[in-house]
Symmetry: C2
Subunit: 144 residues, 2 copies
């Protein structure tokens, strides 16, 4: 888990540097996304902001998430069922371990991924830009 305040400041600065306005709604969304370890969905972010911003539009959350993503400050995780979840705490590609029962997502430590990427590049002739690695299973809190 990267320091929340640091991530918050970086994202706010990036918005300013690119000429975007700092609105209360954006601050609210970024507060949640920069500090969240749980890889929240847009709906979850929206729900968490209902107390502070009762009249906030769901579209605003979508727009803000899209903006942060386009600035490279959030990682989007799309799943086969169509759901999307986001990580603005560690916005660079990294592996995930996902519980198929409760939806929990954790970030494991893996050593050998960099070697693998080079191996792939050599074998296929591709210029590799990014990657995605997810493991699906059942966590120790859920009945298997």
């Amino acid at each position: 888990m990267v320091d929340y305040q640091e991530r918050f400041d970086i994202i706010i600065k990036k918005l300013k540097d690119n000429g975007h306005k700092i609105t209360p709604q954006r601050i609210g969304v970024i507060k949640i996304m920069a500090g969240s370890e749980g890889h929240p969905s847009v709906e979850k972010v929206y729900e968490q902001l209902q107390n502070e911003f009762p009249t906030m539009s769901l579209a605003t959350v979508y727009r803000t998430v899209l903006l942060i993503k386009s600035l490279g400050e959030a990682l989007e995780l799309g799943f086969p069922d169509g759901s999307n979840r986001y990580d603005a705490n560690k916005p660079y590609p990294h592996p995930h371990v996902i519980c198929v029962k409760c939806g929990k997502i954790i970030d494991p430590d893996i050593s050998s991924l960099q070697d693998m990427q080079q191996e792939i590049a050599d074998e296929t002739g591709f210029k590799i830009l990014t990657h995605r690695l997810d493991f699906f299973g059942i966590c120790s809190d859920c009945p298997s």
Copy 2:
């Protein structure tokens, strides 16, 4: 690339064994999906069947793909932009290398994935069921 005829026969047999009827439409869909190396989308399968079945419904392709998937004979690859592509030639989890320009998908050989899965299980306490590993980049046929 697994032998086309073998995959075709296996999928047809699985349908029969589970009490599903063998219709011309299903044969058409399976013919394409069992032999295709290009990981086609539902739309692509539908287009390729237009000559043989001009009145076929897109819904039928969706239903057939869903059925094959539920029988474990097709792998679904969902992407962040919402598109889905399928592999019924190699229906078990395996890595992909995807060109972000032209959409080409190829299957590289990777050695160390099994070790990695065990490492993850030990570290997180998860019972790992499946995984997904994709590399995104630009292929040697596309201008970079």
